[in-house]
């Protein structure tokens, strides 16, 4: 996929993967957890009032559960859905790397990342078009910020 000039920014942004995730998001519905370490975070996008509540359960250094609820635009909904797909079941270290790559993608102004990072990101590479719209980066990051914070809470829980 090249950094558009043929296709409009709009089509580059709302790729089919994103539309699909937005329509049928994964991981939606908070899961009751009975784990030694769990954490929750509530994030609000103050420009539009969108919110996400996200819960993680840790099993050692593995993310054994990630669920969420909330409302928002297709970008924020699809993004947290993809996040669920990418990190549930993964080790924290791996999730951190994925998150770094996603943040980098958001800062790339619409340019694709190198292959290694794209491999890490999987479906999330579809968000490349968002990086061209500073106002929408917040939407795409909302779930990821909640995830980061929930992990911090879970670790507090652990100690």
């Amino acid at each position: 996929m090249s950094s558009t000039s043929g296709s409009s920014g709009l089509e580059q942004m709302y790729q089919q993967v994103i539309m699909d995730h937005a329509r049928l998001p994964h991981g939606r519905g908070l899961v009751d957890l009975d784990l030694p370490a769990s954490g929750e975070s509530h994030q609000v996008n103050t420009t539009c009032g969108d919110e996400i509540r996200l819960r993680v359960g840790l099993d050692g250094d593995r993310i054994s559960s990630l669920s969420w609820e909330g409302q928002g635009c297709s970008i924020s909904q699809a993004s947290v859905s993809v996040l669920h797909e990418l990190v549930e079941g993964e080790r924290l270290a791996e999730a951190d790397r994925t998150m770094d790559a996603f943040r980098e993608l958001m800062q790339s102004k619409g340019e694709p990342l190198d292959d290694d990072k794209e491999d890490l990101l999987g479906d999330a590479t579809a968000f490349v078009g968002v990086g061209k719209y500073p106002a929408r980066i917040k939407c795409a990051m909302l779930g990821w910020m909640a995830f980061k914070d929930a992990v911090i809470q879970a670790r507090k829980d652990e100690s």
Binding site: S8, L10, Y14, C48, G49, D50, C73, Y133
Partner: protein
């Protein structure tokens, strides 16, 4: 169109946006574009006359003071006030806070005997409405917290119209302040000012009008409206950012204590205490936004040269296309009254909710088409909540808006449901 070549006065309108598309600017409710005369007035001030006003005795200071006070007179003329009833403020928000904090300060013992008439406390009431912009709600909440007074509000119906059935209970003998907007920045509805002012007068409450969305679009005369205070913003009426104004009845302004304290606003200062100048100076502490005031004056003159009657007529023409067009798109909900878009009680604003599509996504499609609108809650969370929404997509016009602009919005909006695969 208002004037065929009026658009040439606005340099920014010549811009292109995404992929070279011509700009369709429909975000004037947030901030308007500026005609060249406004930019020139500011620049000429800086290049030829820049100096501190009202203090210096040198030639530049004299020239700057004359321009600054001349601008005040122009703004006063636009709204039917006298010159010393216009106080400069950073924006309308600051103007509204000036009144609320002044009352708060009076209630905290600042301002001496003359300020006593403004004191409020537990048992007293402040009344607003459910359609207020945050700027005319949050300062009153804070005042209630500060003084122990109770905040009440007039509700709105499903169309966003204020419900006046219980006006006598909402505005009663305990009510000290009634603050309300002249025109809603979401529904575009013009408020029933006469009824509200009459009731406030009957109970002796001060009236504070938010003129942000009326002064730029309609003829407004504070004497005829008979309100005590009115706030307005330059940047929404073709003027610069960084300046707005408060109208206040002179005898009220002379008694209200200031809430920003400093130089230029004071008569005598000792280490122990301070006496203040008369209005408007008592409220203009520190070095004034001189260039901006001059720019606002130029904007007021520009509007008066067009004629506010013609501005209003143009407004109705665009409102009809915008609101009428939107109302016909399946799956799109128009906030505010539907079907009487050409009646006399709305300005050219159309805030819409597209079923199943988030306002950010709607805005993205419009932006891609070169149509600049506002998405989100437009600083009106309570009204959106009343409508069962968290946000909407708002198109808003000004003198330079063409019928084609309005149609471009309607057309681009009509493509949204299909783009996101939702069908009415």
């Amino acid at each position: 169109m208002l004037l065929p070549d009026l658009r040439d006065d606005f340099p920014l309108l010549a811009r292109t946006v995404r992929n070279g598309k011509p700009l369709v600017y429909l975000d004037s409710g947030a901030t308007s574009q500026k005609p060249r005369v406004v930019l020139d007035a500011e620049r000429e001030f800086y290049e030829l006359h820049n100096a501190a006003v009202q203090r210096g005795a040198h030639l530049l200071a004299e020239e700057a003071t004359a321009l600054f006070e001349g601008a005040r007179a122009d703004v006063a003329t636009l709204v039917g006030a006298s010159q010393d009833e216009i106080v400069w403020a950073e924006n309308a928000t600051a103007a509204l806070n000036l009144v609320a904090s002044g009352i708060g300060n009076a209630s905290a013992g600042i301002g001496g005997a003359e300020a006593e008439r403004f004191r409020i406390g537990p048992g007293d009431e402040i009344c607003v409405t459910e359609t207020e912009h945050h700027a005319n709600l949050v300062p009153w909440q804070a005042l209630a917290t500060r003084t122990g007074a109770t905040l009440r509000w007039i509700p709105v119906d499903d169309d966003g119209r204020m419900v006046l059935d219980s006006l006598e209970s909402h505005v009663n003998e305990r009510t000290k302040v009634l603050a309300f907007t002249h025109v809603s920045n979401i529904t575009g509805l013009i408020s029933p000012v006469a009824a509200l002012v009459a009731r406030a007068k009957a109970v002796g409450a001060l009236t504070v009008l938010d003129g942000c969305q009326s002064v730029p679009h309609l003829p407004v005369d504070v004497a005829a409206l008979d309100v005590d205070f009115m706030a307005l913003s330059a940047h929404k009426m073709l003027g610069p950012t960084g300046i707005g104004a408060l109208y206040g009845r002179k005898e009220l302004l002379d008694a209200l204590p200031p809430s920003i304290f400093g130089g230029g606003a004071v008569k005598t200062v000792t280490m122990e205490e301070t006496s203040w100048l008369e209005a408007p100076m008592r409220f203009e502490a520190g070095t004034q936004p001189v260039a901006q005031a001059i720019g606002m004056g130029a904007a007021a003159r520009y509007l008066m040269e067009i004629g506010m009657d013609r501005v209003e007529a143009h407004e109705r023409e665009i409102a009809t296309i915008l609101r009428g067009g939107v109302a016909e798109i399946p799956g799109v909900r128009l906030l505010g009254p539907v079907g009487d878009a050409d009646s006399r009680d709305v300005i050219a604003i159309a805030a819409v909710a597209v079923d199943g599509v988030h306002t950010h996504d709607v805005g993205q499609v419009l932006d891609d088409a070169g149509v600049a609108v506002r998405v989100g809650h437009h600083c009106g969370q309570p009204l959106h909540r009343r409508f069962g929404l968290t946000g909407s997509t708002r198109a808003s016009a000004h003198v330079y808006t063409t019928p084609d602009d309005a149609r471009a919005f309607v057309e681009a909006l009509a493509t949204v449901p299909a783009f996101f695969g939702v069908r009415a």
